[in-house]
């Protein structure tokens, strides 16, 4: 069963079994503006929750993307290098940056669901 999760740092996560597809939220996309570059992670890299594993860049900003869970990077979205507009697509439809194999499913409990994330956005300026 697939579901969407969110972090306070505006990562969006699509849970596909034991794999987390990680991208960025619409809020983050709008704040960044047009992207000009995405730095993808290496396949096989072990990441801990909170590790920087990718960078998305607009003209004036480089924003690090943090891993929402512990795990291993099993796939990176190479298509994005040639087509940065992909970032605007739904995660499961090409908008993901990398897929991370989750090593501790309990960590998913720390993430927000869509309703909680929307409430969280209201607290921001």
């Amino acid at each position: 069963m697939a579901e969407l999760k969110f972090t306070t740092d505006h990562e969006a996560i699509y849970i596909d079994g034991d794999t987390a597809w990680v991208g960025i939220t619409e809020y983050a996309r709008e704040a960044l503006g047009d992207l000009v570059f995405v730095e993808l992670p290496e396949i096989g890299r072990q990441v801990s929750k909170g590790d920087e594993f990718a960078v998305v860049e607009s003209v004036k900003t480089a924003a690090e993307v943090y891993s929402p869970v512990d795990g291993e990077v099993v796939e990176a979205n190479d298509n994005m290098e040639g087509d940065l507009e992909l970032i605007a697509k739904p995660l499961a439809d090409g908008g993901w940056i990398a897929k991370i194999k989750i090593s501790d499913p309990a960590q998913l409990g720390d993430l927000m669901d869509e309703a909680a994330y929307k409430d969280y956005l209201k607290t921001l300026d």
């Binding site: 740092d9 709008e30 704040a31 004036k60």
Partner: protein, 562 residues
């Protein structure tokens, strides 16, 4: 994620028009050389001109000797070729597309765009300076070394920091020199491995954390949000965060006056706390123009700082350099500074270490040429102190002796102003900034204005105009349309939509009043026009180029002619 920007970063055309223009329009044929009108000229790249069959310099014909390079002669390079009048016209036309200080008001915060005296240019071009090689025997360069020595003394006196090294090439390079000096000091005391944390306020210039990292330090931010100032509480919290005795602290990097244009009123207390735990205080001297000739950083606890000769001491910015960033430090740290520095040595018996004499600058003026050097009978000579003389140095950071041409210009400026003039410089710089702040605080949000006076920079934001869809970037572009260079925008990062205005002392009241009027007009238009957002997004209209598509530039970088 982090670094989510504070402003919505619209594409430069605001409508995202790059997306539907297609990529093929990158063609070099985009130029419009036939678009000339009145005094507005287009100008192609050198490579797009018809190749002249002879160059713009006449050189004698080579004799045709066989090569002794051991290699074949170079084949075609692909360089363009034009005659002298074509070359001159090319660059003169391009120059007309630039705004400069000599055009008008240039209130770029933290950049100190002041008048650049041409006397300085003239003097730097004297053959005895311009055609002097850095590796000639010192007996043939005593005048240049004496000049550097005098400049060192001026800087030492102005900062109350006796150790001076002129070699750093720019402000950021000076930061590096200063932080490496601190790193070296800790290392020599056997504390190098323990002291790895450098404290910086969140309002710091980006070069500060970048420099600290380059030096192998870890950066810890001190929040300043509410008042724009460091507080003793926030500082203590950062100082003792991971060690109750602060034994992991290498030092702090603080700009004073800070990047919000405010004097850190607790700075002496903070410096004492830092010194108690064994840390050193690095001051970013970018804002020294507010203090020069009036207040000495050594008096509020600074251990080492850099000076931007291209800011405070009027050497030209040249469209992005060359700069020059000497450092000044305490006697304790002087032995760790980079090499080389100029010392005065007894003839034929060089001092092993340090500038032992504490002779005043005025007494040395202008008697540096008592016939020392070749054939002279002087009692001392000037020499470059290298790592042989000063083995505890953090080393050499630049080829040769620094940006000497800038040293000449800066000294000419200091001599012109003198003690009385430099004091007036900082007072007028501070007066001008406060005049702007008070004149505009009712038209723009001025987050720190209620706290009291500012120093040499006034900080405003777009908070009020943003409600009408007019952002800081639009205000900047509207100023361009009105004939001004914009202020620094979106820096510092501690307040959203910042506009940092540094008028400098070289503007008259009349000039400031014109700027204030323009700013009031902009605020008025933003408030009154129903179509304010659209209206402002179109600016500038009359410039050689309108807003440029930075997204396109970054997505498909074209960095050279091909």
């Amino acid at each position: 994620m982090n670094n989510i920007p504070q402003m919505s970063s619209r594409t430069p055309q605001a409508e995202g028009s790059h997306a539907n223009k297609g990529d093929s329009s990158h063609a070099l044929g985009m130029t419009a050389n036939d678009d000339n009108h009145a005094l507005h000229y287009e100008e192609n790249l050198l490579w797009e001109k018809e190749r002249c069959d002879h160059p713009g310099v006449d050189l004698p014909a080579p004799a045709g000797m066989p090569l002794r390079t051991g290699q074949q002669a170079r084949e075609d390079i692909g360089l363009p070729q034009v005659s002298e009048p074509q070359a001159l016209r090319h660059f003169v036309r391009m120059s007309t597309w630039n705004y400069s200080i000599d055009h008008g008001f240039f209130p770029l915060g933290s950049c100190t765009m002041k008048h650049n005296p041409r006397l300085n240019e003239k003097l730097a071009r004297l053959p005895g300076f311009a055609h002097l090689h850095p590796l000639q025997p010192e007996s043939t360069t005593q005048g240049a070394l004496a000049l550097m020595y005098e400049l060192q003394n001026w800087l030492a006196e102005l900062t109350n920091l006796p150790g001076v090294c002129l070699s750093p090439a720019a402000g950021a390079h000076g930061e590096l020199a200063g932080m490496m000096t601190i790193a070296r000091a800790h290392e020599q005391k056997g504390q190098g491995a323990k002291r790895k944390i450098v404290l910086t306020p969140d309002s710091a210039h980006g070069t500060n954390p970048a420099t600290a990292t380059t030096c192998g330090f870890e950066v810890r931010n001190i929040p300043t949000k509410d008042t724009g100032m460091l507080t003793v509480e926030a500082f203590k919290e950062a100082l003792y965060k991971t060690d109750p005795k602060g034994a992991d602290i290498a030092g702090m990097m603080v700009t004073n006056p800070n990047t919000c244009g405010l004097f850190e009123k607790d700075i002496a207390v903070i410096a004492d706390l830092l010194h108690e735990v064994g840390g050193y205080f690095y001051m970013d001297g970018a804002n020294f123009n507010a203090l020069v000739g009036k207040i000495r950083p050594g008096d509020f606890g600074v251990d080492v700082m850099h000076i931007n000769l291209h800011k405070t001491f009027s050497t030209p910015h040249g469209g992005g350099g060359p700069g020059s960033g000497p450092i000044c430090c305490t006697e304790e740290l002087a032995r760790y500074m980079p090499v080389p520095t100029v010392i005065k040595a007894p003839h034929l018996n060089p001092l092993p270490q340090g500038r032992g004499d504490s002779e005043s600058v005025s007494s040395s003026a202008p008697s540096p040429h008592r016939g020392e050097g070749r054939g002279g009978g002087a009692s001392y000579y000037y020499k470059l102190e290298t790592n042989e003389d000063r083995p505890e140095t953090c080393g050499r950071l630049k080829g040769f002796h620094g940006q000497f041409g800038m040293h000449v210009r800066a000294l000419a400026y200091m001599l012109s102003h003198g003690a009385d003039g430099l004091k007036q410089v900082s007072e007028d710089a501070v007066l001008n900034a406060n005049y702007i702040l008070r004149s505009l605080e009712n038209d723009y949000h001025a987050p720190f204005a209620h706290q009291g006076p500012c120093m040499h920079e006034a900080l405003l934001t777009d908070k009020r105009q943003k409600e009408q869809g007019v952002q800081t970037l639009d205000i900047a572009k509207a100023l361009i349309e009105k004939g001004f260079h914009p202020m620094t925008v979106y820096f510092p990062l501690v307040v959203p939509g910042t506009m940092l205005i540094e008028p400098t002392e070289t503007e008259s009241k009349d000039s400031l009043d014109r700027f204030i009027t323009a700013m009031k007009d902009i605020a008025g238009e933003a408030a009154s026009r129903a179509d304010a957002e659209e209206h402002f997004h179109a600016f500038p209209l009359s410039t050689p180029r309108r807003r440029l598509d930075e997204v396109k530039a970054a997505r498909q970088p074209v960095l050279r002619w091909k």
